[in-house]
Symmetry: C2
Subunit: 503 residues, 2 copies
């Protein structure tokens, strides 16, 4: 077979694999959104069956034969740029999968599946000791995974690589340290500020139907295409994509808190507009896939925070909100509303933390994960380490494990290396937003006037359509002219919150 | 491997296949109920990919090896009854699949997929000639299919067998002829009756939300378990099951016609209660599957017609309906309502036809299909044959092909042999209902009092839990003490409609 035929065979097989992933995504979406209670057990089996097929397909000798044929062309450097990218990215996954023996994969999956149940019980009883044996086993397996797949300097590199391909522990530590150096004293200043903000006044009684309508209205305004997607309700807001023509997102509704559903919708719209912006004709190849978890998060954060918590955004939406929900917003001034949605508060819990403290929550987790992986700390010491850091960073005394080290599900599912992508998302989003302001004349005024199209198109053209053509680092450099830096985010926070808290 | 080990391996492989089917069912359900418009093309590809895997799995040499091992135990007659049934039913499908060469299956699938598009155009233009070449090709392929899979007396047996396993053309013709002999003169009597019924008065203005609530209330009362299923909305009402713990049904809502949504819900509840009544622990084997399309239809018809169009049913529900929707039902007497929902009317269209004429619509199709298959009539003559039969049975002059021979999608999709199961469903339902009345003391009074549990449990115990343990014919004989007969349905119709139309 010549190069063209070989490559076509390769992409056909890839497409089959992507359709299986798509099917799993539909089943998982339904599970979270519409599935009746008694369906849980069977659905888990159906999904695990499909995941098994997926693994079989990807690691079959048939697929291996094909990818090795393509590798020959790649090694001879005769693939076109896009073809080379497709091969390179699939090969990355294929190699990783090949390095992990099936027995290891099964054990990890079993331990993590048990781990999540045990963690839930431990959290309920607020007792870390219940979870400790599982956690130790998980860390041991993840360290083994790092050995099996290999790494350059730091075993944690092998964890990061799953979510943020090509990122290194060294680089990430560098930007996180800079960020921490700024955030800690800045947060102390905010605490000492005389400005005290209450967000209680935003509460009210909001009928579900009206909330749904308003959330859909916002998502549509931002550019989410309802002919190629849906907005539904689930316990935790999330987004998932079956393909760029069918992207599903959810938010969470509470009768008394409208703003939380709106922030959920804006955040998920960011993720979903990214997925809708991928090239449908590249479906089935890495060129039709998002770059990394961090870049994905940058798209949700850029809409939720840079845009959705800004004055210019609410200049357009607040009068509409006041009209639709005169109680309570009719009696709340624009400035008071703006301050309330940007309240900074040191709290024990990461989820729904504000723009500033969120990063510190993540940095604690990152520092811990890194040292767990290289063995410089041990799992049994986690509650103490956690609580010491909470004291140091937030000045808070953690009252119990449920509000401390047990609060997040991630570790129990083996998802070590995921946390840092939340902060990377924030850093990327600030750096990208600065670049967009240079490219789009009067961007903030445009948004104030309800014109979101320019910004959406800028994101699409500069980020979405490329799929995995560039790594996160390459993309940031290509779009912003420099490497990832924490400085943009620091400047953004400094400027915005100095004004709000008059410091 | 001993018998136990072999059989376990066999059922494990079967379960894998069933999970794939389950996944396809979820994807198809979502497609009809919630999928955004632009997702159509990709979803079709995802489903066709999964169907491909399913076919591969079922016809793989790996599966063949296993089933042949089981066959040895079966041939030696050392399988337990349930095991023997599992083997026998899977072997039926396996043999049929093996007899059809892949090239044939692909061609049939291609021709039918094109056929449906061409049929839709032909129907829109009301021009049979547009559809004729497709239809000829489809009939040719279905005749070839009959040759490939083999049959005893009549090539149409091989078609029936897909939907109504073990049924023969001869048997079906016999009961249908009896039925026709009764229905034709009876329908003429109704037409001549002085009783004229109008159903216009049932129309009104019914808010969607209230309709949904009322439909859910009815479904729940009948015994549909909402913790193991859902009721949603779609263009055409349907039911589908992922497993007995997750059964999804839909109905259709129109603002002005509440009764049509209710009848849809009752019909689909019948199908869904059957699926929920299958044994969850037999999932993955024929013992956890419904018997046949006809028996399935009997479950929807027994609820929709025997129960849902009866006086005793509405004795309970009508006062509630009147209270919830005083306009118009407050001003309609019980008897007038009962007559309106049982109006008999000769019309061109099968869908939503009444209990009497529905059967004649089907008998026309059955007679045509049978003769198309054995070659005694030709596709080009269909409009004339159709219109002649409509004249003969209904006294109607068909004005155009769209209202005549082109009205149904079935043939264009290759589903020849499906139609008769609708009438078989009616016949089974009447015979089963009579048996249930013998077993359950004062059944009609119980239902009048809103007690549906006894009837549901009777169906469950006598029909649902058995899965495919008995063929349709065996089950009817086991439960009612005699072979399928059209007499029960004839008696039911005669008694009910003689009163309504005073004949």
């Amino acid at each position: 077979m010549n190069k063209e035929e070989t490559f076509e065979q390769f992409t056909e097989k890839l497409e089959e694999i992507f359709h299986l992933r798509s099917a799993i995504a539909v089943l998982s979406w339904d599970q979270e959104v519409f599935m009746p209670q008694k369906g849980i057990e069977s659905r888990a089996k159906t999904i695990s069956n499909l995941s098994g097929f997926l693994h079989q397909k990807f690691t079959s000798s048939d697929f291996e034969k094909t990818i090795l044929k393509v590798k020959k062309f790649y090694d001879k450097k005769i693939l076109a740029d896009e073809e080379a990218c497709i091969f390179k990215e699939v090969w990355r996954d294929f190699e990783r999968e090949k390095k992990l023996p099936l027995s290891f994969v099964k054990e990890l999956s079993r331990v993590c599946s048990e781990g999540q149940n045990i963690w839930a019980k431990a959290k309920e009883k607020s007792d870390f000791k219940i979870f400790l044996p599982s956690l130790k086993k998980i860390i041991e397996l993840k360290r083994k995974e790092a050995q099996l797949v290999g790494y350059n300097k730091n075993p944690y590199d092998a964890m990061l690589d799953i979510y943020e391909p090509y990122a290194t522990t060294e680089e990430v530590s560098l930007v996180f340290d800079e960020l921490k150096k700024f955030l800690l004293p800045f947060l102390r200043k905010i605490k000492k500020s005389k400005v005290k903000i209450s967000s209680e006044k935003l509460n009210g009684k909001f009928p579900l139907k009206k909330q749904i309508e308003f959330n859909k209205f916002i998502a549509e305004k931002l550019g989410f295409d309802f002919e190629a997607g849906r907005l539904d309700e689930s316990v935790h807001p999330f987004s998932t994509s079956f393909n760029p023509m069918d992207v599903r997102m959810t938010t969470r509704y509470s009768e008394k808190n409208l703003i939380s559903s709106i922030m959920g919708t804006i955040h998920e719209s960011g993720h979903s507009i990214y997925e809708q912006g991928l090239s449908a004709d590249k479906f089935g190849t890495p060129l039709g896939e998002s770059i990394s978890t961090g870049i994905h998060e940058s798209q949700s954060r850029i809409w939720e925070n840079m845009v959705g918590r800004s004055k210019f955004f609410w200049k357009f939406f607040y009068p509409i909100l006041q009209k639709k929900f005169p109680d309570p917003f009719g009696k709340i001034s624009f400035d008071s509303f703006y301050r309330a949605i940007n309240k900074v508060e040191s709290d024990f819990i990461r989820i729904e933390a504000d723009e500033i403290t969120y990063n510190l929550h993540i940095i604690i987790r990152f520092e811990i994960e890194k040292e767990l992986l290289d063995g410089s700390i041990q799992a049994e010491d986690l509650p103490k380490i956690w609580n010491d850091k909470m004291k140091e960073y937030f000045g808070l005394k953690v009252p119990n494990d449920a509000l401390g080290v047990l609060q997040d599900v991630h570790w129990s599912g083996g998802n070590i290396g995921y946390f840092p992508t939340y902060v990377l998302g924030n850093l990327y989003s600030a750096q990208l937003f600065e670049a967009s302001k240079k490219d789009i004349l009067n961007l903030e005024e445009k948004i104030s006037a309800g014109q979101f199209g320019h910004f959406k198109e800028w994101l699409r053209k500069n980020i979405h359509v490329h799929g995995k053509m560039y790594s996160a680092g390459e993309l940031i450099e290509k779009v912003t002219g420099e490497k990832l830096s924490s400085q943009y985010f620091i400047n953004y926070i400094k400027e915005k919150y100095s004004k709000i808290y008059k410091i």
